[in-house]
Subunit: 597 residues, 2 copies
């Protein structure tokens, strides 16, 4: 069995749960179907295992190096990416007229999960490129589409997203990179950008940096931020490559994990200024970024899921074969030791990982399916999907980062001392997954987005859409799942009430105190959402089991029921405890004088 | 301010909380007092910061290497350890007649915390040596005391503990290392030992391995395990060093963290057999180990605490000076950014770390104080202390490993992207602390020890001793702490009831199901114990505040009250949720068919 992802589970989520094989009813996906998707997933599995997985450990120790001229890294990275581009994955989600495959976002994220699970570092290059291309596809002018977007989709150019600066990480309002208009309509950029993944390398013909900067004289704060496309090598009107632009690698960042992706500090305009072109209208850069952020944050969540998923499979694989100790009550030391999977505590650790990994994948793919519905559905479907996406985005970004990391922590524990060594990939997954709560907006930023913005927008319409969607699945007559259904209904009721009370109290207690426990609120609502997705999976498994499937399929479906049961018994109660605290609008933290720390 | 540990807090715990300055009432500590202890702690602080901390990052990247002949490592390790030995710390807890300082265990652990916080890898060499020496001090014969113990206490020899084998990590009953009696009363050992820290190096004149092995013909299982002292270099009767013993380094283990301590696979008896001497009586090896395990497990907990503590101080230091963003509600982007410590979510993360780190240190030092009471107190005091120690040992081993790691995870989050880089030590602390839930008995092993053995021993006497100790501090009239006092009383009442019901149900449900959620039980009771220690600290802080101290001291004491309040509001409720699950004797995990995973 593959150790990157369980194919049966992926199929279960795509077809039994999300019914992605019906997406061809939308004109954009006409002619596609399960056969198409299966072939593409087969190819992705093969490529991920043959070309990405084998060098994942290598790039963790043999990090990108900069000799003052070029960034170098093991040749396997370029080989894998060339094969990825060759197979057409870079354009998977893009329009056919751009050379893409025009696949649904659901499939694009499913494929991304496979590559992330196989090698999160190498898989980041194309994922960043896709993010940059998405922005240009939405807001680029004809010239930018021709000169930058097409080669990005073709995988000839790679892309980056340049947001943070050394003094401004989470606080984008404070960026200082300056854009000076030129007589020919172009701009010259001056400033320093931090944490830029894929900022410099020899993997592609060119790099297109999408850079947030302020046009001279722009309003202060986020309202003065514009978006620019800044190529590493200048591109002539006929698409031919020219001289190096004034973008310099100032240094590499050395991280705890995810080491194979080069992470850079880039200086724009050390000399005459980096030449860039404005994307869209002036001062709308952050709005463009936010528009694309739903997908970028789903991708980030999917990466966290993928790491937890492959960690789970590796630890399960070990536990099945490693014999250690005997069951409690067995007093005869001459009996053979039992496999780790026989110990209740190890079963708990495996079930916990399974609940997090498979629950997270359900969350990631469900969120991706909302992008498809938003973009392709009727006006009514689209509105509902957009609202669900808005409220779920901070959750899909955060929940897998927190609980996927926990899963990786547990995977190490299953192996014991062996899991702590570099002989197994578990410790690497753990190090890599630690990043996901930080990049693409920290957990604190996501929590503020959820409670400060999403919950209150349109008079709570997005929050109501989520509650309605959950309520619609609360069928108290579901055989064998009535306890879980009741538990979820109760938790949802509490969540509704607490949210209502909290929002109502905001004006009275003020914004600082209203938002003080936003991270806990995000945590609790995330658990309720994942409980819902587990109930949905259990409902489907229950239905499929009634059809009397074969032994292997029965085991798979029983596994879904067991994980659902685990999640409701061992996990969901914590959400209620957390909501009880949130309901108190406790100001222990908000009112704390930092001088006493 | 030092970034390894807060000296005022250490003093608060030692003197205001544990009243260690009164230990001189016991004859063993006659003549000692606060002045003695302060000088020794001053020296430890100085040495830890000057000699240990500076090379902590170095030994993380420049790991011990084996060239087939010798293990080499940066020279700073030996320099630091020589200074440590020179200052007399190796013998801190040992009898004056052995050349030791005869300090109380409380002080020995306080000192250990400083060295662990400064450099957990280098500090492990002496801590292992002290562990080995403790065993020989308790069970060694005159020859072993003269030839091994004295040079260990003097720091001329270092020690190891050789328990695990490649096929037997947690399952010591299954070790295969064989001891063959020789005509001269010595033994020849044959077998392979795994995960041996400090197993081979050039840091000391000799290494004394304390090895678990089975004498030929011994009973199967744990009842056939004996303990042997096996030197790296043979030692003649006059103490002079002879030829190399038949102990070979088979390989080094490469870990995620804690990389500076050489971790080895050792082969005993590849040729004629490694010469060893029996410690104590045959077949009692595991009993001896268990006797010494309380202290070893306290030390392990203290290491986890130390890592969380220094992580907290580093993240606090960063948060005080790094400016980022503005408070919610501040709409003017031209106002200056505020320090991270102004943000409620960051304050929460700092308070959470403080509650874990300082609460963990209180737990570690309180446990150590019980060793002193057990060894020096009246028969009644000693019995009570021994029972408390028995029940607290799995807790002090585990709680700091779990919540200290969580603290290190949060410390990274406070720094954001910077915390994820190797430019700061936070990611290293996080990698290092991940080991503490694995070595010295995994969390699963500790949980089985607590619920399977300690809770039931002597008809619950140890558990009752803990409940009584907590109850004794529940003064409902404590000014300003009545809510916390009530909360703790309620949680303790539930814990008593659940424990009683669980033990009563064991015969009916069987051992497997009785123990199935032992890890959750351990987690919950750990939180209750730490809540108690926070209440105690708050009671003392409250009393000291009433005396009207100066500004700095007031801030420190207010910090204690804030952390106590945080722990009771944000942390303790989770223990009740967990106990509610434990009370159900849920068999989701125990009864799971692993084939469905």
């Amino acid at each position: 069995m593959s150790l990157i992802l369980n194919r049966r589970d992926l199929d279960f989520l795509l077809y039994d749960f999300l019914e992605s094989d019906h997406l061809h009813h939308y004109p954009r996906f006409a002619g596609q179907g399960r056969e198409t998707y299966d072939q593409i997933i087969d190819l992705a599995f093969t490529l991920a295992e043959a070309q990405f997985q084998p060098h994942a450990a290598l790039v963790d120790v043999d990090e990108p190096r900069f000799d003052g001229e070029r960034v170098s890294m093991p040749a396997e990275v370029k080989q894998a990416l060339d094969a990825y581009v060759e197979a057409g994955f870079m354009g998977a989600g893009f329009d056919e007229e751009l050379g893409g495959l025009q696949l649904p976002c659901t499939l694009v994220q499913a494929i991304a999960a496979l590559f992330y699970a196989a090698n999160v570092s190498t898989a980041t290059y194309p994922l960043l490129t896709i993010g940059a291309a998405n922005l240009l596809a939405a807001y680029g002018d004809e010239t930018q589409r021709r000169l930058y977007l097409e080669p990005l989709v073709a995988g000839r150019y790679f892309g980056t997203m340049c947001l943070s600066e050394p003094h401004a990480g989470s606080s984008l309002a404070d960026i200082r990179t300056k854009a000076v208009p030129q007589a020919d309509g172009s701009y010259r950029l001056f400033g320093s950008k931090m944490w830029i993944s894929g900022g410099e390398h020899e993997l592609s013909e060119n790099i297109v940096h999408l850079v947030l900067a302020k046009i001279e004289g722009a309003p202060p704060g986020v309202k003065g931020i514009s978006l620019f496309a800044v190529p590493r090598l200048l591109v002539a009107g006929d698409g031919s490559l020219g001289a190096r632009n004034d973008v310099r690698l100032a240094g590499l960042n050395h991280k705890m994990g995810w080491r194979g992706i080069v992470n850079t500090v880039l200086n724009f305009g050390e000399d005459e200024g980096a030449i860039g072109s404005l994307v869209g209208e002036p001062h709308r850069g952050l709005a463009y970024m936010f528009h694309m952020m739903n997908e970028a944050r789903i991708a980030c969540g999917v990466a966290a899921v993928a790491l937890s998923y492959t960690g789970y499979l590796h630890s399960l694989d070990y536990a099945k074969t490693r014999r250690q100790g005997r069951l409690p009550g067995e007093k005869d030391p001459t009996t053979p030791m039992v496999p780790l999977t026989e110990h209740a505590d190890v079963k708990r650790m495996l079930l916990q990982q399974k609940a997090y990994a498979e629950g997270g994948l359900a969350l990631g793919l469900y969120s991706a399916s909302l992008v498809d519905l938003q973009d392709q559905g009727t006006a009514e479907e689209s509105l509902k999907a957009r609202r669900l996406l808005d409220i779920l985005t901070p959750i899909v970004k955060t929940w897998p980062a927190v609980y996927g990391l926990k899963a990786n922590e547990i995977a190490i524990q299953v192996l014991g001392g062996a899991g702590y060594t570099r002989d197994y990939p578990l410790e690497r997954f753990y190090r890599e997954n630690r990043l996901n709560a930080i990049h693409e907006g920290t957990t604190g930023i996501q929590a503020g987005d959820l409670l400060g913005r999403k919950v209150r927008q349109e008079e709570g319409a997005a929050f109501d859409a989520l509650c309605d969607a959950i309520s619609a699945d609360l069928d108290p007559l579901t055989k064998g799942l009535s306890v879980e259904t009741e538990d979820l209904a109760a938790a949802l009721g509490i969540c509704r009430q607490v949210t209502h009370d909290l929002v109502a109290a905001a004006a009275q207690v003020g914004e600082v105190r209203y938002l003080a426990n936003a991270t806990l609120y995000l945590d609790a609502i995330g658990h309720i959402v994942v409980a819902w997705l587990w109930l949905r999976q259990a409902q489907i498994a229950s239905r499929l089991l009634a059809e009397g499937p074969g032994e292997e399929e029965t085991a798979f479906l029983q596994g879904k029921l067991a994980a659902c049961r685990y999640f409701f018994r061992y996990e969901l109660p914590a959400a209620r405890t957390t909501l009880a605290l949130v309901a108190q609008i406790d100001d222990t933290c908000a009112s704390l004088d930092p001088a006493v720390l």
